[in-house]
Each structure stands twice: as C-alpha cells, then as structure tokens.
Subunit: 362 residues, 2 copies
C-alpha cells in the first residue's frame, strides 16, 4: 500500500457515470467528504433516486471534473470510458469486474495521450443487490479493491484512484489488468460456474432426492441464484481466463472420474486432500493468515428472540464470534447454530453457554 | 409418514455397534427414553468415553437386543451388519451414507431369512464432527433420515427402524436403496466434489489472486475441508451413482465451455438460468416450499458484544432471523452482517434497526 501522504488529494468535482449500486455508493462516500458530485445515467429513474438520496447533482455545461468514475454494465463500459476521456481532461476510472478486454477496447477508441488518464479498478463488493436504492457509503468498508493500471498510465492518475479507494474505506490491491482477470476467474467466476453446474443438476431432480438436502448443497449452490444476464456479460468479457481455468477443471474432472472408477483409492485421497489445502489457502478475516478456529454447536428453538438470547449470552461471556451458520432443519422447529470462534476460546464458550442452560454439541 | 400407532414399540435392549458421533448420539436418545443400551466398539477409548457420557453399558453373554444399530465406517459396514444378523435375532439397521453396495455385500454373507431382519437407514446429520465426545441426543432434531428397505425386508423390521427415527426427532423418508444412493450422489456427493475441484484450483494460486476472495468462493468451497479418508470410502461405496452424475456434469461443462467461447450469449444465459432454477428447487426450511425471504445488511464492528447487541435488538424488534451470513472483511475491522428474514418483515426490521442507530444497507 502506498503512503497516503504521497497521494494526490481527492478534491473533486467527481463525476459518476451510472447511478446503480456501486456508482451511487461511491457518490455517497464523496458527498460525505463534502466533495461536489455530478451524476449521469441513461435511466431517469436511477438519477431521480440517486438525487433523492443526496448522492449528487445534475450535469451542467461548465463542469470540469477532477475524476470520472464509470459504473455502467460490462457491455457498455468501454464506450463510456472512451466518452469520458474524450469530453473531459479528468482522470477516468471504472469499476467493472473484468479489466483487460475493456482496456483493449478503450485503447482502440482513444489516443495514447488520453489513455494515460485512464486507470481501471474493481471493488470486490455489492454483487448480490442492485440499483441506487441499495447504495450505501459503507458498502466498501474493509473490502479488497483492485487497481489495474496499464503500462502507459500516469502515476498521478493511479494515485488519485488509490486516494478514492482509501476514502471509500477499502483495501487497494494494485495488479496488472490480465493478472486481475486471471484472479477473478479463479476466485469468483470459476466458483460461480461450479455452483451453476451443481445447481443445474438439481433443477429437474425428483422431489424425494431434494428432500435429503442439507447445508452443504445450499452453501455450494447459493451464488448460482445471481442474475444470468449480468453474469453472461461478465463471463464473455473474461472468456479467455475463464476458458483456461475451465480447461484445467475439465482435466481435473477427468482425473477424478478415473480415480472414483478405480479400486485403488490413493489418487482419490490425493485429489480430496488438494481440496483441503485449497480451503486453507483462502486468507483469513482481515487479510491475515487464517487464524485457527473451532466450531461450537448450539441447539436453538426457531422463534423470535432465541438467537438474540444466544448472542446476548455469548456477548456477556466476552467471546468474539468469527462466523455463524444456522442449519436449515426440514421438519422440526429446532435449529442447530454453529458459532465459529478462536480455537482458544471454544472451551470457555461451551462451558459458559452450558451453565446458562443451552444445549451444546461438543 | 406412517401413523405412529401402527409402529412396533421400541422397548430395547438396543445394541449400538460403533460408539462414534452417530452411534453414541443414537445411544443417548435411547437412554433418555429409559431404554437399556449395549455398546460395542473396537476402540477401548471410544467405549470408555461413551460409557462416561451415560450412553450405555458393556455387552454380556445373556444380551438379546430388540434392535442393533451398526454405526461403523463405510469400509467395515457390510461385515458388521452380517455379524449382527448372525449372532442375534434382532432387527438390524445401519446408518451408513451409502445403501446399495453394503446391501449387496450383506446379501452375499447371510441367508434370505436373516436378511429379512435388515433395514438400512441414513440420518442426514453430523458429518462435520466425529467421535463420541461430539455426540448429542439432539443431533437428529428435525433432520431428514432416509429408511431404505430392500424388497424382502420384514414390515415389522421397517416399522421398528421408523420408530427409532421418530424417537430421535428426525423426519423419516422411506425410499429404495438405489434411489437413496442416486439422491445423495446428487445432493451431497456431487456438491462435495465440485467444491473439491474449485478448492483444488486455489491450492497453488498466487497470493494476490487469493487476496481478492469474497464470501462466494468461501461458501462454494467450505465442504471441501472434510476428511479425505472418510470421503474416499463414501465415494467408492457409491461410485456408480457418482460416476453417472459426474458424466452428466462433464457434458454440461463441455456445453458451458462452448457457450463461453461462442460470441452469442443465448446458450450461456440458458445454462445460468438453469442454475437459478436449481437453487429454487431446494426445499425451504422445515421441509415446506421455500418461503420468500429478503436480506437485510447491517454494518457491525468486529469486537465482542457487537453481534450480541445486534441480535438483542433484532429479538426485541420481534423479527425471526431465518439465516445469517457474516462477511469476512480483509483489511478492516468492520463486518457486513446479512440477516435473512421473511420478506414481509424486512422493511420493519430495517426501520427499527436504523432507529436504534445501526448502519444498514438498503
């Protein structure tokens, strides 16, 4: 991370093109800082809503923005970036989820001098909701935010985008556009497509198969509920990196099928163990190495107030809850709640919850 | 579900073979009912622990159990079932996660008269912990529990196993062994293997790729952290049904790769939409149709007591929380907590939380 003092100050005006969830949330952050924000959107309704939220004002002919943030759908993004570079002398960034293909398209639409002012970026936030009504100045708090300068980008332009990212409360991660695209193919697009393939096999499954569903299949398939039209644009914009990974997975799948069919289980154990290693490779909360945690299981009656009572007790016991899972229990109104806590706190939490009358599963 | 009155009464003694998590939990249920329980295990330590929990007593030569429950690892299960059928005249069930292959093996080991007393079953519970110390009489509360009689099974034997399932608080689901194996291949083994394949691609990924990880990849890969040795046994015991499904997924993957590579997105949208349909096909909490829910997002500082305060407030507001997700936020100590609630309660909860000073994301 760059030292804050070396960054250009974000003073505005900031122009936001596309007043959806991400664009409006960035506008709200800037307004909270007292920066003048100008909003553009092809949807009159989005503009009205964003204005109503106090996210910014309408464009005037005299506007000369310091920074333009392009936050339109993937299919429209390159044209909107080029347009902003042509009609202003501002630094221009975008928040699209794919970086290489739009950069190449922009480079074909504008000259190298204008291109110097463009620096792509990608906040890892907000994919499950949409529209300006879902916007919040707190949306980026603590999230990673990739900044992907091309080799010809002006250092002041990169610095200004980094200043925006820091003002939004996010963690800047500077990387090359192609590297970013390989990263999101791996940690976002591939998991999404795996969930889609598993969920696709449920769509026409017999009801008696689905009745045995537990938490595992729900977790694996959850992201497959996202908007197909948006994901089509994302996948098509990153088709190269996605296809490379899908080819690797296809070859892993072939090896898996051979291992399952074979009588000797050594290869199968090796494949399963590599999955173990992959889950441990995901960084822990707060970006540090994953801290050792332990799960504490508590039976909780499924009516209002019971979870509150459990968390109230956990709070009084003074143990920090790292994560929570609530098991969905077909057939009976008692749920199993899994509290994930620091390994060193688990025994204390268990004993203290039991002394308060909770049924725990050790 | 059969009318309870028509079922044979579970009076015991019950013999549990294998005092691990599942076996000991069933023993604890029976002891709570006042039923005499006999425990067997090749591990002296498991036996000592289970005895210490009050789960049952040691075997004597005079024991004549009414029901034997076999709860040993998959690779040892057929021999243990056959042994129980040979040395007792009890009804024998097992709790293995695969049903066809063990049934075939048992049928080769005992005669048809003994086989009449065997009825396989499979509680959908407890895969993430192991050992008698993790046991609980509440483990099966509200869970589906498959009962898989073969065509020659005695109706009274099926009824006695159903009586056990009901006493454990679970929801019995009677189905054929082969149908059960196809069901778990689809709703458990395939999701598991998809998670393993995605996680496998993370194991050697560059750190800067992993730094962009969000909740999606964590959810998709979570189950891949399970024990490889146990899963090898499960997958090998159900290799037929698993390979059938993997072949279907392989063909879906080929179609997906063609769709991503093609410029026209129609096929891709169709594949993504089938994933949408699959997530909707999973039955809702409590086995009914999925109720319409909405997510309410709240910013929560990451230190002890804050989650407690949030759930305390939600409890006082009187809204039932259906599910919770806590976002892992690399880089900053503020988390986004997602509360999933009945759609009709979301606006009330949002307004009431905001009036209590919480920062929500609408």
């Amino acid at each position: 991370m760059t030292d804050d003092d070396s960054l250009p100050a974000l003073i505005g005006p900031v122009e936001v093109v596309g007043a959806g969830l991400i664009g409006t949330s960035i506008a709200l952050v800037c307004r909270r800082l007292g920066i003048d924000v100008v909003l553009r959107d092809t949807s009159e309704e989005n503009l009205r809503t964003a204005h109503g939220l106090g996210a910014g004002r309408a464009v005037t002919v005299a506007d000369r923005p310091q920074l333009v943030v392009v936050a339109v759908p993937p299919a429209a993004i390159a044209e909107a970036i080029a347009d902003a570079l042509r009609r202003t002398d501002a630094v221009v960034t975008d928040v699209g989820s794919v970086k290489s293909a739009p950069l190449d398209a922009v480079a074909r639409l504008v000259g190298p001098d204008d291109l110097r002012r463009y620096v792509g970026s990608h906040p890892m936030a907000g994919s499950e909701r949409s529209g300006p009504l879902a916007a919040s100045a707190a949306l980026f708090d603590g999230r990673p935010w990739a900044i992907t300068p091309h080799p010809g980008a002006a250092p002041e332009a990169v610095g200004l985008v980094e200043a925006l990212v820091l003002e939004c409360g996010a963690s800047p991660r500077v990387m090359e556009p192609a590297e970013h695209d390989r990263a999101v193919a791996r940690i976002s697009h591939l998991p999404h497509l795996a969930a889609v393939l598993v969920a696709g096999r449920l769509a026409s499954a017999p009801e008696e198969h689905l009745a045995l569903s537990g938490q595992g299949v729900r977790d694996v398939t959850r992201v497959a509920a996202s908007d197909p039209a948006l994901w089509r644009q994302i996948l098509e914009a990153n088709s190269g990196a996605v296809l490379d990974l899908l080819a690797e997975v296809r070859s892993d799948l072939d090896a898996l099928m051979v291992a399952v069919a074979a009588d000797s289980g050594g290869d199968l154990v090796e494949i399963l163990a590599r999955g173990n290693a992959g889950t441990r490779a995901i960084p822990g909360k707060h970006g540090g190495p994953a801290r050792p945690t332990r799960s504490v299981f508590v039976a909780v009656p499924d009516h209002p107030g019971e979870l509150a009572r459990l968390f109230g007790d956990a709070g009084e016991i003074g143990v920090n809850i790292e994560d929570v899972h609530i098991d969905h229990d077909p057939g009976r109104p008692v749920g199993l709640t899994e509290l994930v806590v620091d390994r060193g706190s688990a025994d204390h939490l268990l004993a203290a919850l039991e002394s308060r009358g909770w049924t725990t599963h050790r």
